[in-house]
């Protein structure tokens, strides 16, 4: 087993979330907001989707060197389980569910004639004798079988769960959000099973320029998206929160210094800083080649530094917002009352200021999350984003730039990355909204 830097940080993050969850479990006053979140149908559905994405990301974060493999590459658990899809590489573009290549080629038939035509794909639909007639029927059949298998799997675990928690049967089945949640889990399980089944015979979302399966690329990009979204936030948040609140609360020279720092940082174009730091990392890696033997390790290092530098350049906006809000809050009478009660200043910050700016943090973090994924796409364009070998929606969108200009047009790379990104960002947005509403006591009775 090999632990990459980003892997370690991801597992650290998960651990922190678990500890936090455990810590908050027994808190009396949090029971109601948490109850509200679990009662919200849309909120819980988006949470299920988020967890599903998270699980794929986690599977993709367990790296090891396969024992029987001669090449020196590190692969993840996800790679291992999707080996068949990973290795079914075509020559070049093919559209979703295609049996033929997307571009014409010179092929020599068995009787020695030269033919300028669309060649059959090596893997996609290769099991069919005559794809022109049989293909639609075959896809339908395979999809139905896959879906049924998935449904069976779901039913098996569902019944197992019910028999395991007999006394909790009521909450599992009758909760407000129970029905939609089980529905969405059912769709996810059966749908994924179906897609995995189909992927054995077809390229569900086509192939890209070098013939790699686009569906596989999009799934692999989930980890990159999550890493960039969460690690960057992890670096950005403490900076923004600590500096923003301190500047607003203490005023005076503290405020001056912090404002000076972020105005200066803001006046340097972010791209310059990012380019500089990525170049530095590359130089460092070139000088210490013995430490970066594997491609994956190199790509990972670059991803980590990208997160780091994105975090360092992107905290200023939130910081400014928090400073302004804190300036307002510190004049509130409850803060003054706390001062009169002799409450220490750091406790005032923790107890009175921080909870009351939480909604701003939550909203801007979710908004930043989507813009970070997009930023990564832009940075890939000028070659300072993630490593070209790293699968990411940004890289996919970047390559789609040329594909869209082709005739006939190649649309599936863009479509796939858009679909995955859209689902993730939408789910994150809705869930954040639910959480924000649930934790605002003033909204508690209104809905």
């Amino acid at each position: 087993m090999t632990i990459l830097w980003t892997d370690a940080l991801i597992f650290f993050l998960v651990l922190m979330m678990l500890v936090l969850g455990f810590y908050l479990r027994g808190k009396e006053h949090l029971r109601r907001p948490i109850g509200k979140v679990t009662a919200s149908r849309v909120g819980m559905m988006s949470l299920v989707i988020l967890v599903f994405f998270g699980m794929i990301g986690l599977l993709d974060s367990i790296h090891f060197k396969p024992a029987n493999d001669k090449s020196n590459e590190i692969i993840s658990l996800l790679d291992y389980w999707t080996t068949s899809i990973r290795q079914q590489q075509e020559k070049t573009y093919s559209s979703p569910f295609a049996a033929y290549s997307y571009s014409k080629e010179n092929i020599t038939t068995d009787d020695g004639r030269q033919l300028w035509t669309y060649p059959r794909l090596k893997y996609g639909g290769a099991h069919l004798k005559n794809p022109d007639i049989k293909k639609t029927h075959d896809i339908m059949q395979k999809a139905a079988i896959g879906f049924t298998k998935g449904a069976g799997l779901f039913a098996f675990f569902f019944i197992l769960l019910l028999s395991f928690f007999k006394e909790r049967k009521q909450t599992i089945l009758k909760g407000t959000a129970a029905k939609p949640v089980w529905m969405i889990i059912f769709i996810i399980v059966s749908g994924s099973y179906m897609l995995i089944d189909l992927s054995g015979f077809y390229h569900v979302l086509g192939t890209d320029k070098v013939g790699e399966d686009v569906f596989y690329q999009a799934v692999k990009s989930i980890r990159t998206g999550l890493v960039i979204g969460s690690l960057t936030t992890l670096i950005m948040l403490p900076l923004a929160i600590i500096f923003g609140i301190m500047a607003g609360f203490f005023r005076g020279w503290v405020d001056d210094v912090i404002q000076y720092i972020y105005t200066t940082l803001n006046s340097i174009p972010g791209v310059l800083l990012i380019a500089a730091s990525i170049l530095m990392v590359q130089v460092y890696m070139a000088n210490n080649e013995d430490q970066f033997t594997s491609l994956v390790v190199r790509a990972d290092m670059r991803l980590l530094f990208l997160c780091l530098i994105l975090g360092v350049t992107s905290w200023t906006g939130l910081c400014r917002l928090l400073r302004a809000e804190t300036l307002k809050l510190r004049e509130m009478e409850y803060v003054q009352a706390a001062q009169a009660l002799g409450v220490r200043r750091r406790i005032i910050l923790m107890r009175h200021i921080l909870p009351n700016v939480m909604h701003i943090i939550l909203i801007s973090v979710v908004l930043d999350f989507s813009s970070l994924v997009l930023a990564e796409a832009v940075l890939s364009y000028i070659n300072i984003g993630v490593d070209p070998t790293t699968y990411s929606w940004g890289n996919m969108i970047n390559s789609a730039r040329l594909e869209m200009a082709r005739e006939p047009i190649v649309w599936w790379s863009l479509m796939a990355s858009f679909l995955f990104m859209f689902t993730l960002v939408l789910a994150a947005n809705i869930f954040a909204d639910t959480v924000r509403d649930a934790f605002d006591p003033r909204r508690a009775d209104n809905d």
């Binding site: 409850y334 009352a337 706390a338 009169a340 009660l341 002799g342 409450v343 406790i347 009175h352």
Partner: protein, 534 residues
């Protein structure tokens, strides 16, 4: 009897399916009379006015069998033509003159806008009429004020401009929704006199909406009292105030603080608790890129007084006189104070760090606005508990919970309140929570910064009663900051009148209220609306 100008019959307004904010009310306003609609906050009096003008928010549902204005059915007029009613025939002035005027338009333009809308006059004529209007509302030097922006005017002048705007359409009915609530007493008196004069000049009807019974008794011809969306009593001024019939009206009248209640205070000497000598609060005015201090705003300018244990000193003054700065400066909530503070014989100037923090916590504060003085994200139990946790970290959690329960009982709140959020309570209940929070650390002095100004009269009386009881039980001292002289008589032993950062009159409550020496004190006392019973 003459024909009624405005007839409202069976008016109900609901925001949700089940609860009527205004519940089946009927009344008339006659030409040239002053009709007062009185009620506590939330009784639906403003909603009634807004529904006549069709200014209700979109989610409101209005039902009425009749709303007639000068023989026209207002319910039948299409929205297009309603502009001919609004502003032209029925005009309205709102409570807050700070937000009712557009800050980026000159005063003259804002008045001219109404004229332009309703009369097709030439530019010159509009300006002429605007100046006339400004003169009518007694704004000095109208030629110059015409070009001024709202922020250049004082609060009273802004309300005058609002009145001028309302008068511009030459309405038959003027609705005044709490026109003086945001103003000081002396200015309130001037504005009410102005409204009366203008009414006499133009002969329009005035529909006054107010919570202040004393004010209403001086001006209204007929009075109606609203409670929970219903009109509980309606009658002529004399009949109404002399023989109130409904229990609620009697209760309201009884709750009014009266100036005579200062008789039963003891004059016994007690040891001194707090002694201020030459206390100053200066706010620096900074200018230039280096933020050099060029001058100071002297909010409190050399104040000295002494407060004895178990007594109440009332600090009276109009807005901007520095009374709140004094209270907050005393608790060190604002920087830039100077002068000697002797608390229980210990000079606070010489204490440092934790010692000072502990000593200061023996002085607590209760704020004016019960809505912003509690953290909305904390439970009431935690709010009350906060001081205990900060100062007595040795007390166990169970003991603290016991304390919280005890404190809630002291301020007459149910024990279950501890697990609820502040927004679930009414204004009066919140003020009780704030008092409990202050009491938690066993203070010797509580600075009450206008604790009842945001509350209704009946609630105000309850809070004052609570404060008095607590004083008797625990021997607390209060520094009671207020602009309402009538309340002073109820609670204070001594009074200090402040003006422009200085104490201009200081003495025993009876002496100050009955025989004021200072000119300003006298004008302040005269401006207080007193219940007029003829």
């Amino acid at each position: 009897m003459t024909e009624a100008l405005l007839t409202v019959n069976g008016l109900s307004v609901a925001f949700n399916q089940d609860d009527n904010v205004v519940d089946d009310i009927s009344f008339e306003v006659f030409p040239g009379e002053t009709f007062a609609l009185v009620g506590e906050s939330g009784s639906g009096k403003s909603i009634t006015a807004l529904s006549v003008l069709r200014l209700l928010p979109g989610n409101a549902k209005l039902t009425a069998s009749e709303i007639d204005f000068a023989g026209e059915n207002l319910l039948a007029i299409p929205e297009m033509d309603f502009c001919q009613i609004r502003g032209r025939r029925i005009a309205m002035i709102f409570q807050d003159p700070m937000t009712s005027l557009n800050p980026v338009m000159t005063v003259g333009d804002q008045i001219g806008e109404v004229l332009e809308l309703h009369f097709s006059w030439a530019k010159q004529a509009i300006k002429q009429r605007t100046l006339e209007l400004l003169e009518q509302v007694e704004i000095p030097d109208p030629e110059r004020r015409y070009r001024d922006f709202p922020h250049q005017l004082s609060g009273g002048q802004r309300q005058r401009v609002m009145i001028a705007i309302a008068l511009a359409g030459e309405p038959h009915l003027l609705i005044a929704d709490e026109p003086t609530t945001a103003l000081d007493v002396t200015i309130q008196e001037q504005i009410m006199e102005l409204l009366e004069r203008i009414q006499k000049q133009t002969g329009m009807a005035l529909w006054l909406i107010s919570h202040d019974l004393a004010l209403v008794s001086n001006i209204a011809d007929r009075v109606a009292v609203m409670q929970n969306g219903k009109i509980v009593e309606m009658g002529c001024n004399e009949a109404f105030f002399v023989h109130p019939k409904h229990a609620y009206t009697q209760e309201l009248l009884a709750a009014l603080p009266s100036m005579d209640s200062c008789l039963n205070h003891l004059k016994k000497e007690k040891p001194s608790l707090l002694k201020l000598t030459d206390f100053k609060v200066y706010y620096p005015i900074r200018k230039g890129i280096f933020k050099r201090v060029v001058d100071h705003v002297k909010a409190v300018d050399g104040v000295s007084f002494e407060l004895q244990q178990g007594k109440t000193l009332a600090l009276v003054g109009e807005s901007g006189c520095g009374k709140t700065s004094l209270g907050k400066g005393l608790l060190n909530l604002i920087p830039g104070t100077s002068g000697e503070v002797l608390f229980e014989g210990v000079s606070l100037n010489q204490l440092q760090g934790d010692e000072l923090r502990l000593k200061r916590s023996e002085m607590q504060i209760v704020f004016q606005d019960p809505f912003s003085s509690m953290n909305p994200r904390m439970l009431v139990g935690e709010i009350i508990d906060e001081g205990l946790r900060a100062l007595h970290s040795d007390i166990s959690a169970a003991e603290r919970r016991e304390q919280v329960v005890h404190l809630l009982q002291q301020v007459d709140l149910p024990v279950s309140s501890a697990y609820r959020y502040p927004h679930e309570f009414s204004g009066g209940q919140r003020q009780r929570i704030c008092i409990a929070r202050a009491l938690a650390v066993k203070p010797k002095l509580i600075v009450c910064d206008e604790p009842t100004s945001a509350l209704d009269v009946s609630v105000q009386a309850q809070i004052i009663e609570l404060l008095k009881n607590l004083q008797q039980e625990q021997g607390l001292s209060y520094l009671f900051i207020t602009h309402n002289i009538a309340v002073v008589a109820e609670i204070a032993d001594e009074v200090a009148v402040m003006n422009q950062g200085k104490i201009i009159e200081y003495g025993h409550v009876e002496q100050v209220l009955k025989n004021p020496v200072n000119e300003y004190t006298r004008s302040l006392l005269n401006a207080v609306p007193v219940l007029k019973i003829t």
